[in-house]
């Protein structure tokens, strides 16, 4: 039933621009692999090339032992779910689901049985006679999923499947998809720009940036052990601190952070520290001293905006019980745990500290 997808040296050029540049990875059989990256990172193009909707400039695509690269779209036997559902608007829900069976000339009886089975699976049996414009966004996407699954594809490709839905529906549908996958076990490849979605749903994450693969690994590895500065900054929020390497530490004026043993002496370096790795020290003494600029509550956590002695701003997510009485205006000591140090990329020329896109912790 399930088959791995293997992508080898896949490249797609539009004129001089390489949308996808020498991408290789394997999506293991029966697992969910997420292609994670910002918009324009080439992740959708990779998916569309696997489906046959785009023709690669170079590279090969396999489904198990079988090479797909030169096969036409209709012969690949992949299920594809589009961001904007792409339901056939002139067909009812059941006609939509039936479409893939009808073009394969399956018998009417087996078509009907399969449609019933799938509508039950996506919990839309009562909506069989409706037209797509009579459904909500979440329902439409479930119809799209049922339609993609109907011809029993060996792999399921999902292109930002929750991208057009509002936050609440997205959460529900994500959990529902997770359960569905556990039940069906079909090899799935999910394209998303939402790191939370990738970390929650995927067994394996492929982080892409500017057409290239930055890192391939399990969600926990991607999060805890980023291989590149891009991954460290993009997956999860992080405080970005620029300094210089001396004796295995990143020096930032008033203080220094460990974890730079692998970097050459004297190079410019960037250290990433996650907001939840910034702790308020219980007493005098710690990694760095800072002034508390702002304390805001995020439910069970407090978000502290702090100015370090050297002038850099960092954000800390601290449980209320571990604030040790820190208030706005206080001068406190901080522990900065698990810093990840990288040679500073030439592109990140901006001085001082910045913080990656805000992450609201789930309660």
């Amino acid at each position: 039933m399930s088959t791995p997808i293997v992508v080898q040296d896949l490249t797609k050029r539009f004129g001089d621009f390489a949308a996808v540049d020498d991408v290789s990875f394997t999506a293991p059989a029966g697992a969910v692999t997420a292609l994670l990256g910002p918009s324009g990172s080439g992740k959708s193009t990779v998916l569309r090339m696997i489906a046959g909707l785009e023709i690669p400039t170079a590279g090969r695509i396999f489904m198990g032992e079988e090479e797909l690269t030169a096969k036409s779209v209709q012969d690949r036997g992949v299920g594809f779910v589009f961001q904007h559902y792409a339901l056939f608007r002139h067909m009812t829900v059941s006609q939509n689901v039936e479409f893939g069976l009808r073009v394969r000339k399956e018998s009417a009886a087996s078509r009907r049985a399969r449609v019933d089975e799938l509508l039950e699976l996506v919990q839309l049996s009562n909506f069989a006679g409706r037209y797509p414009d009579q459904l909500s966004g979440g329902q439409r996407q479930r119809v799209a999923l049922a339609r993609a699954l109907a011809p029993r594809p060996e792999v399921l490709l999902l292109d930002e499947p929750f991208g057009a839905l509002d936050a609440k529906v997205r959460q529900d549908l994500r959990r529902w998809l997770d359960e569905l996958h556990r039940e069906l076990g079909v090899t799935s490849l999910l394209v998303t720009h939402d790191q939370e979605e990738a970390l929650e749903l995927a067994n394996q994450v492929v982080v892409m940036h500017e057409g290239r693969v930055e890192q391939v690994g399990a969600p926990a590895v991607i999060y805890d052990d980023p291989a590149t500065p891009f991954v460290a900054g993009f997956v999860g929020a992080a405080n970005v601190l620029h300094g210089q390497v001396r004796e295995g530490h990143v020096h930032l004026g008033a203080f220094r952070l460990p974890g730079a043993d692998h970097l050459d002496e004297g190079v410019a370096a960037t250290a990433f520290v996650r907001p939840h790795d910034v702790r308020v020290a219980a007493d005098q003494g710690g990694d760095a001293r800072a002034v508390v600029e702002r304390v805001a509550t995020l439910g069970w956590l407090a978000r502290l905006t702090l100015t370090l002695d050297g002038g850099e701003t960092v954000v800390a997510h601290v449980p209320h019980g571990e604030l040790h009485g820190a208030k706005e205006g206080d001068l406190i000591w901080l522990d900065l745990r698990n810093p990840k140090a990288f040679v500073r990329p030439e592109t990140a020329a901006d001085e001082g500290a910045t913080i990656a896109p805000e992450e609201v912790p789930a309660s």
Binding site: A51, Q74, V78, F82, L87, R89, F99
Partner: protein, 290 residues
Amino acid sequence: MSAVAARDAVPTDLERARRRRRLVRSLLVIGCVGYVAVLLLLPLIGIIRTALEPGVGIVRETLTLPEVRHAFYLTGIITVITVVVTTVFGLIVAWVLVRQRFHGRAVMNALVDLPFALSPVTVGLACVLLFGANGWFNEFFAARGIQIIFAVPAMVLVTIFICVPFTIRELVPVLEEIGLDEEDASRTLGASLWQTFFKVTLPNIRWALGYGVALTTARAIGEIGAVLIVSGLIKGKTETATIFIFTAIEERQTAEAFVVALVLAAISIVLLVLLEAFRRRSEKGRGHTT
């Protein structure tokens, strides 16, 4: 207290504004209705009244005349061929214009509208130039004994030329609107290009296509300028319904002219109803947010 006073003052001002707006609106509506009625409806009423003046019997008498029958037959032939050709090629051209990016696309896009801008008489003249006695293609066809100019083929050709834009102009915005997603979905579900076209694309554009066909039909039936030039005015041979009216008036057969005009007007009204129905369906279809 001042608040209360202000509140009292407001309704009179509002009332005045409301009355002014109502007046402007009524004047606009009356003006528009009058304009449409005088310009569009009066001629139609005139034709009906004049045609039926000698009594209803004149209709049957006229429609049994052999030259009238032949004129309608010819109009029918030209219209059917025109509709088939412009529909098939209109679909292809519209699809290429929307789905393909190529050098000269903008030029092609503009070229499609040429018949809108060109006077039909010019089109007729150009056809004479190409197929007439000293025309570029005359030798080729004359050698094979095929009469183009002053015969039905030229009349069909100029009508097709004039009707080219209608279907294309209706289809392009609809194709742009529906996008590629549904066609892509169909392909991934195992449908071939043909299946995708007939089961997915065509149902999505059918009302716009119907609208284009109805417009083309109306134009093909009503065309006279270009057709007149290339017809050579051979009585009973190259006389379409519109040309019949033209010559009948010249020859003071006013009654016959008006009856034929009445039939053409009746066809127009049927087409108008169809157009309205197609337009509504097409807009409803496009309103879907899938």
